[in-house]
């Protein structure tokens, strides 16, 4: 007899059989929802234990990257910034990109790093990469605060489109989660991905509109270029924060949204299919 309350009562029966774990999955996920928070909390706590500078480390990295990109692309490359102070333009693109790249690296490695948990305790495994994405999101929020300060410094008020910012954030979250889940599952069986991921992240930085604007991409490449889900996210961020000349290429955005959904859905499917074997091969 099933009952829908939060924790199982003594009359609830569970059957364990090969291939049968799917039925309880979403209910279990809800029951273990607090674990999302706890694992993210643990990762954040650990990061800042015994450090003096502590939280400010999450500010230093974007700050330095911003300086490097401004010098390389802005001064030396003389890329246009559409009438916006270059550092602000760069930071607007970097904010979602840093979120995506840290989320990807952390969630990709998350299962392997937590191998002792995976082999000793039961909980829906998808919580592990998901909580890594949440940890990166915490960093994202700190950097967003920094961006706000930056915009104040340059006396550059955000456009009205800022109302749409949460939607683009959600899109970024989805892209990070989808790719992260894929890599996490693949990493368990094929440790090669440990080397592939940093390369993809490096490469991705150059093909995403972080140091440049999407307007510089020639028309014939636009559609393929938009397959990169972060294109939609970053352009969307710029549009909502900076407005003005940062128009969105709407078909490109649609493609980015679709590729994000595709990543998420296929990622979750693949993860659940291979999840049963994690404890055996990790």
């Amino acid at each position: 007899m099933k009952n829908y309350s939060d924790s199982p009562s003594s009359t609830e029966e569970l059957t364990i059989e090969s291939g049968r774990s799917e039925r309880h999955y979403w209910r279990d996920l809800w029951r273990y929802r607090e674990l999302f928070y706890f694992l993210a909390w643990r990762d954040l706590l650990i990061r800042y234990k015994q450090t003096v500078v502590g939280v400010t480390w999450s500010l230093i990295r974007p700050f330095l990257t911003m300086i490097v990109l401004t010098v390389v692309f802005g001064r030396l490359g003389k890329m246009s910034s559409g009438g916006v102070p270059y550092p602000v333009m760069v930071f607007c693109g970097m904010l979602p990109w840093m979120f995506f790249s840290t989320a990807l690296s952390e969630s990709g490695n998350s299962l392997v790093n937590n191998s002792s948990l995976i082999s000793k305790v039961y909980f829906p495994r998808i919580i592990v990469p998901a909580s890594s994405v949440i940890t990166s999101f915490a960093d994202f929020l700190i950097s967003a605060a920094f961006l706000a300060l930056l915009m104040i410094w340059y006396h550059f008020p955000p456009s009205m489109n800022i109302l749409f910012l949460p939607l683009f954030t959600l899109l970024g979250f989805g892209a990070s989660l989808g790719t992260g889940i894929w890599i996490a599952a693949l990493m368990v069986k094929y440790r090669d991905f440990r080397f592939i991921v940093p390369f993809v992240v490096q490469f991705g930085l150059y093909i995403s509109p972080v140091g440049f604007l999407s307007t510089v991409v020639p028309d014939r490449w636009l559609l393929i270029y938009s397959l990169n889900p972060m294109v939609g996210v970053i352009d969307g961020f710029r549009w909502s924060l900076l407005g003005g000349q940062n128009a969105i290429y709407w078909p490109g955005l649609a493609i980015s949204v679709l590729s994000t959904l595709l990543l998420l859905i296929t990622g979750i499917k693949y993860f659940r299919r291979t999840e049963k074997m994690f404890a055996d091969i990790i």
Binding site: D6, S7, P8, S9, S10, T11, E12, E13, L14, T15, I16, E17, S18, G19, R20, S21, R31, Y32, E34, L35, F38, W41, R42, L45, I46, K49, Q50, S116, L117, I118, S119, K120, V121, Y122, F123, K189, Y190, R191, D192, F193, K276, M277, A279, D280, I281
Partner: protein, 428 residues
């Protein structure tokens, strides 16, 4: 049927060994295989694992039932499949075939301190560990004080766990798990860590959980005393199969111990190079009759049996003690006996050269059953030469029959001992 907590039907788990080796370059392997023969690779992707790997059945057709409130001990040699069985019940890994029906929430303690992070404090780890084991934040908050009291770490709550002694660490880990309130609690050999006091505390808590709260407990251990004192039924696994499921605890444990122990005989002869020392070099250790002829394996309880110990003495030493330790079939130590137990003027004097000591095993004191004798040689208060439980040679004795001359006492009665004591009428 309705009070079955866990029902296991034909459970089997197969591992593919050899598959692990290619894990590292798995991707390269996979790509190479795909390039070479794309169709075969696609077909193989659907099946789990290529046929070239060897199969290992960790569990094969395991079936048994556990009623609510039972405490079940699972024993078996290393590699028998005990941990695999627990992992499947805990949903950490999936069975290859067969099924398990479980009623109620399951909490597993397969390892002490799962999820503990050394950098976090005791307080933080309690929350983390509790959440990982399935408790909600509210639940942990409620039980927090109890957990801290059980673990006895009040003063160290805010110190990072990496500074804890191993005893504190283990107490804390068990304390959190002990306060879960599952219907079914699964404990895997965690009592192997920790000192005697801790083990007593854990056993006490588990007893509390089962008798006091009516929860079902599944307990894997190599500590036969713990299994005997806690469990009502034992499952003996061997090579992935169920060898026995029974409530005859001593019998099942005895069968397990004798099946796993190296079989000994009534006689031990030094192969020539063990226990070399100048004070008493043992040559022969055996059970014999009064004249020194080796006994048969099985003797009657009223038949006088002597322990014979032959050895070479090179150097005399007043501290030399020689004798034996007697263990019953379950491994309980019954007694030690050495040649210096008598008053000093009655000690047998050992001289340089070949010495032979003999001592009668008390007749009609031990009960029917199998016994193990381990040789003791030591220098009193100075050092061990042959230490029981570690390097001592072992011989076996089996007592059957001859318990008493009474018509009312002809078969084995309960108890470790079966002395025939004298009874007379006392004064009124």
């Amino acid at each position: 049927m309705s009070d079955i907590a866990i029902g296991i039907e034909n459970l089997s788990k197969r591992y593919l060994i050899g598959a692990q080796e290619t894990r590292g370059d798995g991707l390269r392997h996979a790509i190479e295989a795909a390039m070479r023969n794309p169709i075969r690779w696609l077909r193989e992707m659907k099946r789990e694992g290529a046929k070239s790997h060897e199969e290992f059945w960790a569990l094969k057709d395991v079936s048994f039932e556990i009623k609510q409130g039972d405490v079940i001990g699972i024993i078996g040699r290393n590699g028998a499949g005990k941990s695999t069985l627990l992992k499947i019940i805990s949903r950490i890994t999936e069975p290859t075939s067969g099924r398990i029906r479980i009623k109620g929430r399951v909490a597993s303690l397969l390892e002490v301190g799962t999820g503990f992070h050394p950098e976090l404090t005791g307080r933080e780890n309690i929350f983390l560990n509790g959440a990982i084991l399935g408790m909600s934040r509210a639940e942990i908050k409620n039980k927090f004080d109890e957990i801290v009291a059980f673990a006895e770490i009040e003063k160290f709550l805010d110190t990072p766990v990496k500074r804890y002694s191993s005893g504190m660490y283990v107490r804390l880990a068990f304390a959190v798990a002990a306060h879960l309130e599952p219907e079914v609690l699964i404990v895997d050999e965690v009592l192997a860590v920790g000192d005697a006091e801790f083990q007593k505390k854990c056993l006490g808590k588990m007893q509390d959980v089962s008798k006091g709260q009516g929860r079902t407990v599944l307990f894997v251990s190599h500590n036969m005393n713990a299994v005997e004192s806690l469990c009502q039924r034992i499952v003996h696994l061997g090579n992935g199969k169920v060898i026995a499921v029974s409530s005859d605890l001593r019998g099942t444990i005895g069968a397990y111990l004798s099946s796993s122990a190296v079989s000994h005989s009534v006689e031990w002869i030094n192969p020539g190079d063990v226990l070399l020392n100048p004070w008493f070099q043992p040559v022969r250790f055996y059970l014999g009759d009064e004249q020194g002829n080796p006994e048969k394996m099985q003797v009657r309880n009223d038949h006088p049996v002597y322990v014979w110990i032959e050895g070479e003495v090179e150097r005399e030493d007043i501290a030399l003690t020689v004798g034996y330790a007697l263990y019953d079939g379950v491994g309980t130590l019954l007694y030690w006996s050495v040649q210096t137990d008598a008053p000093e003027n009655m000690w047998p004097r050992l001289t340089p050269g070949r010495n032979v000591l003999k001592s009668q095993v008390p007749s009609r004191v031990l009960n029917e059953g199998k016994y193990r004798l381990e040789l003791i040689i030591a220098l009193y208060f100075r050092e061990w030469i042959s230490s029981p439980g570690s390097n001592a040679p072992v011989i076996e004795l089996s007592i059957q029959g001859g318990l008493s001359d009474s018509p009312y006492w002809t078969e084995k009665r309960p108890g470790l001992l079966a002395p025939v004591c004298g009874w007379t009428l006392g004064k009124n």
